[in-house]
Homo-oligomer: 444 residues x 2
């Protein structure tokens, strides 16, 4: 397959004008000027894209809960605890495993149509019907975090082991992550126990890729206090990261979602250990949690990816929108429009996102890399004229400008059509089930 | 014409399910359940929309510079003064009147495709080719602010008078505003003089509607200092509004764009005088200027509309996106997700926007009101399921979900097609001219 564009954006600083990408067996085998690539390829290739298009690496959503599309817009503009306890959790208690998969199918569809090729997600697990099965069915790439909680230590650890055995490394696209939920829902002993298990299973199943630790970190400013109250443990130097580091869980395969309320010591330890952060500007703003200081994290050398968080707190899975929020969120706070410029944000959404999920051969367009690609239609009023493609991708592009989405060299979405999803059927089922669940939760 | 939707959102709190709007001679003559409206209407009406659609009032962009589409993405991530002096102004000095109109045509196209029916804009004026002529040609509604500066007092005041005579009230859609540019670019005497002129011409041309005063206010925290330095005038009590009030320009027809750096006294005076604010969250963030405290302004009783500002500092004219930014911008600052809830933001983008521009019969769907309507396609993955339409409009909808845009009962955009704009021609001309200007500014 040849993927063609007026611009091929290889990475955060290299653009090939009138370029093309040659894809074979799911890998990028050449990238360069269109005429050269065609010559090298020989005859018989399908061409996706044309001279009005832009080709870029697939976008990585480094933190979300894709099944939560069912709860999109169900409860908004509420305080976090009220939102969770009075609205989200009562609804979720009524959901069945088939709902986890159904919500995830809609989430995959929405993601693909927005240029997202790879997602790190976390939700309730079921071996037959959940996020992992939705990813398998649709051809999308994803890392599925198996949530681990103190209130069901046995059950959730068992889920993790089961998920690794069943799904880790499947089709080279699916990975499992260990997801102790958060510092305030997982006791110190369970952090240690889950980490031992993660290392053990990574050793046994490492052929499928790293098994990362994907958790929530410093979303709420009250975390040190909550840890003390719930587990009777003092957080040293007020540093939640030092606390976790003492439990041996801060390392290169640690991915903390949010990273809002971090002090100097937190940041120093994260940087020293090579830990990663998934920044979720839209959900952080929507829940009133605060502003992650991404310029500072990046300056400290921390790899920061971007995420949408779940559709109940965003309310979309729109990573194109998230790029714009990520670029803007810190400028007024610092009264400096130069922070998080367009190229940096582009890099966070692609190359850094892939690194957050433990991929070494993904996130840029380079020979030998996996062929996760997005083709963008630039022939739009709001993308006219073009001076700088990075500026357009971050500040002007909309998800709806995505023309095609390719994972492992396979077209999953093109010109409004899905190749692996019966979207009308999925939407009908979501509408039906969401209304049933709504009636039930209201009635209860 | 009958405009039909599964939801007809009349205003910020009333929704008619399976409803319709009957439009005759540019006015809304009935709104209610579809069957009732059809019965009342009798035969022979065109129907726009269907049972998958949502109908809402046209969105009002209460502050922008639509001609600046030509500079979209031309310079980003720079400090305000450097951005203006080294990039924007040198480019603008090379622009010709035909470029003002060309940029405005693209801006109108982009706006209509995003559900914007009414815009308050401000740019360089030319009687034959500028924003006003673009609005006239395309059928869009707009208020054109004629910029007034101390560095060309005679010329800019003359422009204002000329524009009122030529355009104010034309086709019931075009209005002229007096736009002394900002406190720091207009000296006290010119504020007084322009205000006298505004009142005089409003008296003479008032049949065309109010001639509002649309200016920039408190975008920069250094404004009181700049006024003192440039004009040798002390700003009383550090209140830029008290200063302007002393010049007699704070009143019900005053619309100040931005309103970021306002103190208690500023807010008290604005509220007491019935003055209005146009809030531009995206541009304020992009230029690093700060966060307008919209919850506080609204609580004080001030009418706050929403704007995009120009496409050089946004970089789009996307008011749907602006609604989401407006809803989110203050939540983390106040650590309270309850501020600026979805319905309030919806109201700002429609009803309050119309009030900002001096319209009494616009901004809600009500019998006797002007028929500026938007039809939204709700049959989209990212708008599924639907619990609350206000939540979806503000938090999940994208501009690309707009199916049709209607001004004064006339369809200007439907299903991707413009009825009054040759969009391919406009885009081609913008591409060509922007590259010529770019070469010229680079060469100079």
């Amino acid at each position: 397959m040849i993927v063609r564009g007026r611009w091929v954006v290889k990475n955060y600083r290299e653009v090939v004008e009138d370029g093309a990408v040659l894809v074979e067996d799911g890998r990028i085998v050449a990238v360069g000027p269109y005429e050269e690539v065609v010559r090298e390829a020989g005859r018989g290739h399908d061409v996706v894209g044309d001279r009005n298009k832009l080709v870029m690496p697939g976008i990585v959503n480094s933190h979300t809960h894709i099944s939560m599309t069912l709860l999109r817009g169900y409860a908004d503009d509420l305080l976090l605890q009220e939102w969770l306890e009075k609205h989200i959790w009562p609804y979720e208690r009524l959901m069945k495993p088939s709902d986890y998969e159904l919500g995830a199918l809609l989430g995959v569809a929405e993601s693909l149509a927005s240029g997202v090729t790879n997602v790190c997600t976390m939700y309730h697990y079921h071996p037959e019907r959940s996020e992992a099965t939705a990813l398998l069915k649709t051809g999308m790439r994803g890392t599925v975090g198996i949530a681990i909680f103190s209130w069901d230590r046995e059950g959730t650890l068992k889920n993790f082991v089961d998920a690794v055995r069943r799904f880790h490394g499947r089709e080279g696209r699916i990975r499992i992550a260990s997801s102790p939920h958060a510092p305030y829902t997982v006791d110190p002993e369970l952090w240690r126990e889950s980490e031992t298990l993660r290392r053990e299973y990574e050793e046994r199943y490492g052929d499928g890729g790293p098994i990362i630790l994907a958790t929530h970190l410093a979303e709420d400013w009250r975390e040190p206090e909550m840890v003390r109250e719930r587990f009777g443990v003092e957080v040293p130097d007020g540093s939640i990261v030092k606390y976790l580091d003492g439990l041996g869980v801060i390392h290169e395969e640690f991915l903390g979602a949010h990273g809002i309320h971090l002090n100097d010591l937190d940041i120093e330890i994260l940087a020293r250990r090579g830990a990663k952060i998934a920044h979720n500007p839209v959900a952080n703003m929507k829940l009133g949690m605060g502003y992650a200081d991404t310029p500072r994290l990046l300056e400290a050398g921390i790899t920061v990816g971007l995420g949408t968080d779940g559709p109940a707190s965003n309310n979309t899975l729109d990573m194109v929108e998230t790029m714009k929020f990520a670029a803007l969120i810190n400028k007024p706070l610092k009264r400096d429009p130069r922070v998080t410029p367009a190229r940096t944000v582009f890099r966070m959404a692609t190359e850094y996102g892939a690194k957050c999920l433990g991929y070494e051969d993904l996130g840029v367009i380079e020979e030998g890399y996996r062929a996760d690609l997005v083709v963008v239609d630039m022939d739009r009023p709001h993308l006219t004229p073009v001076y700088d493609v990075y500026s357009h991708i971050v500040y002007a592009m909309r998800s709806s400008d995505v023309y095609a989405t390719i994972v492992d060299g396979r077209i999953l979405y093109e010109d409004g059509e899905y190749t692996t999803i019966d979207i009308d059927d999925v939407m009908d089922r979501v509408r039906k089930r969401s209304m049933e669940l709504y009636e039930e939760v209201r009635g209860g």
